[in-house]
Symmetry: C2
Subunit: 310 residues, 2 copies
């Protein structure tokens, strides 16, 4: 028997991970949006309620990241059925933690579950990316893919899309600080030019290589040495108040690496033990507090699953 | 007792390996230069004989790639002693197979052995790079490092230098075709601009990531998908006659990937079995022969050792 209702949790994610602009990301297991779908009697998708968005998100299903992918999916299956949608945002909008990707993935994942899985997870990626496109104006998958598949993801190529689920060391802890200020993804992206310095590009792909070698061979130190970004961070870092100070105390606490999560303002660190992850969180938050910036902190392992049915 | 004479073999290498411009390379075990050092009674290095170079290399020890590193090494140790040097070139000069790197590595490696190893292998890298600099006018290590350490090498960073010896799958066969034409490394390098397209750079670091993930997780197919170069190959490929035709027959033979070795004109392929490596060699050579280009072919496993005392 087909179900009528489903409630799912869909994780936040950290993209770029230092050098891997547009091609890397990982999911984290302590912050998740919750999405509820209920079959209705109309032939359309209706967004019934959105919480946690401070009124920022649209109720228009053709413009909301969560429902755009669902509409594409239903159209593909030629199904004229409708759903009521409740979106509970826990991942800050414009935080750099894959908020729009979580909405996009959550919508199509929940719908697919409710329809008794006509699609494999892998096949849901394109529908979710349609949703993500609405939010970021660009087709990129570095939040969508880790959010959907869980784990540490490399997007080797976009044309056609080639997703690699990377092995990673067991004791990897992620600390996140989210200063409560806003940077818009699309606006932030415009600041990056169309050309990059060849030498810097070489440095960048050396670090991408190092990061992936470190992850796949359990080399914590190499992971840390490779979390560097000579191209995007120098531009985006300036838009995050006290970024350099926060980074400094994180490294002083013993984290392996620290960088901007996505387009920021959230900042992530990776550590090889929980104690350091906790100390770093406290020290980073102290910098914000001293400078009168409200912030949230999270300590998480890498999420391996992606969305979960509740 | 200190030895008076040593003879060593030092391997050829393939750098760039598709996307990894300036940061990746591997050593191959079927082509090696041979270098012989004999302690003399002067306080200087004397190049006694060079073979296989068609008269192209200098006998001036301050300008020859093989002896420049040796001079730096002796100076560092404040040793006023001299050696006679015989250089037997087997690796084609200007072939794209790390000929100058082999000379540079061979000189310092042989000298270090003869002096009873005052330096660890790792410490020889800088001396060898001094030699390589003479040949290529740029300090890069993507042939020097694999030649010295053997195996598949990532140079994560140059400042300071950070060498990562990557694990790689057991059944990796390399086919090389060396069309007997010449491209000078320094001249070839000038053709590359100082800026690259941001989008292409992202594609490139996606492929670097894929190649390293493929190597370290024994994923032959991923290795193949990642051997792509959207930045350098489009420029350098044009200088190798019938490059596209050669590449086409290689892929048709079933190789995982095919690209330019270093700055060319040598072309390498990687395969997951020897049979394919042999077929590819024959097919690639046929293209050259049909177009009246003399060529040499080599089939090799990845060399794991680097220089060997003979």
């Amino acid at each position: 028997m087909e179900k009528n209702k489903i409630k799912i949790a869909v994780p936040a994610s950290v993209s770029n991970v230092g050098p891997g602009f547009d091609i890397m990301g990982f999911a984290i297991d302590v912050i998740s949006d919750v999405i509820t779908l209920t079959r209705n009697n109309h032939e359309e998708i209706v967004i019934k309620k959105i919480t946690g968005d401070n009124g920022k998100l649209t109720y228009d299903p053709n413009k909301n990241t969560c429902t755009v992918g669902m509409i594409h999916l239903l159209k593909y299956l030629k199904l004229n059925i409708g759903f009521d949608v409740i979106i509970e945002k826990k991942i800050g909008i414009g935080s750099g933690l894959g908020s729009s990707a979580a909405s996009a993935v959550g919508g199509v994942f929940a719908l697919n579950e409710l329809l008794d899985k006509p699609f494999k997870k892998k096949e849901l990626l394109n529908f979710a990316m349609e949703g993500e496109k609405i939010a970021s104006k660009a087709t990129h998958a570095d939040n969508v893919a880790p959010c959907l598949f869980g784990g540490f993801i490399l997007i080797r190529d976009y044309n056609p899309i080639d997703i690699v689920n990377l092995p990673f060391p067991k004791n990897l802890y992620c600390t996140i600080i989210h200063p409560q200020i806003e940077i818009e993804t699309a606006a932030s992206r415009k600041l990056l030019g169309k050309k990059v310095d060849f030498k810097k590009a070489i440095t960048q792909w050396g670090n991408v290589g190092g990061l992936i070698a470190g992850l796949t061979t359990n080399n914590y130190n190499l992971i840390g040495r490779s979390i560097k970004d000579v191209i995007v961070e120098p531009i985006r870092g300036k838009f995050i108040p006290f970024y350099e100070d926060i980074k400094k105390v994180a490294y002083k606490s013993g984290v392996l690496g620290c960088n901007i999560s996505g387009s920021g303002p959230a900042i992530f660190t990776l550590s090889d033990n929980k104690k350091i992850a906790i100390i770093a969180a406290r020290k980073m938050q102290e910098v914000c507090t001293q400078n009168k910036i409200v912030s949230k902190i999270y300590i998480s392992k890498i999420d391996k699953q992606g969305p979960k049915v509740l």
